[in-house]
Symmetry: C2
DNA sequence: CAAATAAGAAACTTAAAGTATCTTATATGT
DNA sequence: ACATATAAGATACTTTAAGTTTCTTATTTG
């Protein structure tokens, strides 16, 4: 019993994808325990039972390895967007999921990563494939079908509006949004702009 | 002729506020020339004609000294908010000024500073004295007097809405907003929410 | 003009990034 | 099953910059 991270060591020599997965998991474990600045290549190597040389064969530097570790988890599986029966609750659901996904590992490391990778904009980390929001598209499609929203009202700007405001909150305060904040964004800003009158 | 930064050196020995101002100016000069990661204490000391010991007597670490250098410039002198005669242009003016002030030194260093200072939220750097926006208050006050906007429409959330969206853009893309983006924020989002119908 | 204070120079310690070299386990092709 | 290629893992090394320490000397202040 009680086996925190690794196996008994000296089992076998891991390779390829198996080894890589173990390393990235070690990165996430380190990131949970300490600040980004205190996560070292030595520490990662030790925790994953390998050596720095192995890390540098796969990633160019610390920022890259941490980014890889986060990307594995962060592009949240948007598989399905739950249908609560009305736009309001659907959008609140999306914002709550941002709360979960963005504030854990990501916000802890994101500043360091961007800083060390040079002038790489935050956008390219968060949306490797552009800004559009799949989940918002789905939710608004439904709303149009229900007759809650008129199709013409949905511009690209409005499509991402709740997510933009939520991101601003999360980054600004570095903690999950409150339910009050979510309600403000949806009820005071988003709904009045898209609902049919 | 041609004297980029410093004087002839070995003039006199500066002290107190005079010395401090020269150091912070050197920090800003360094920050203009290179990335945050490449700004070193040695470099700052050399450029300002002093030594590392002097820097460490005043600031605890690199992040602190850079933050001090930026703070001197960033809390933009909101002295007066120009009156263009209508809310729309007034708000566009505020967003354009964010464009100027936020994207120069700040966005270059902000990620590194936050990362190195620990879990300090961005908010506390950007708004040492709370979130409310003085300039937006002034502009909306005028709008209410003109009869463009009804006083009850102005909630705290709506008060900072254009600024929140602008900040999101600037941070996300790490560059000034385009005029199109400013127009979208104001015309598609802000005005429809506050204008009398 | 004496004493206190802080500037400036220089040498030092430490931490961690990143590199290079070598040995050896494992996979793969024949 | 065996030879060969490939990559893992250990270890030692170089380099860079942060942060510290010590000492000398200019300037302020009383």
């Amino acid at each position: 019993m009680s086996n925190t991270q690794e196996q008994d060591k000296l089992k076998t020599r891991r390779r390829g994808k198996e080894l890589e997965a173990a390393i990235l998991q070690a990165v996430r474990a380190e990131l949970k325990e300490r600040e980004y600045a205190a996560v070292t290549m030595e520490g990662i190597a030790e925790r994953s039972g390998t050596s720095k040389a192995v890390l540098y064969r796969r990633w160019a530097n610390r920022a890259e390895i941490v980014l890889a570790a986060i990307r594995e988890r962060v592009p949240l599986p948007l598989e399905e967007v739950p249908d609560f029966g009305n736009v309001r609750d659907d959008v609140c659901g999306i914002l709550r999921s941002m709360n979960l996904n963005n504030t854990q590992l990501l916000s802890k490391a994101i500043y360091g990563i961007i800083s060390e990778l040079g002038a790489m904009p935050l956008a390219s980390v968060l949306f490797p494939e552009g800004r559009s929001s799949r989940s918002m598209s789905i939710v608004l499609q439904r709303a149009v079908e229900r007759g809650e929203v008129s199709g013409e009202a949905v511009t690209p700007r409005l499509l991402t509006l709740p997510i933009d405001l939520a991101r601003n909150e999360i980054i600004l305060y570095n903690e999950p949004m409150s339910e009050e904040t979510i309600a403000e964004i949806v009820d005071q800003v988003f709904l009045p702009l898209i609902q049919k009158r």
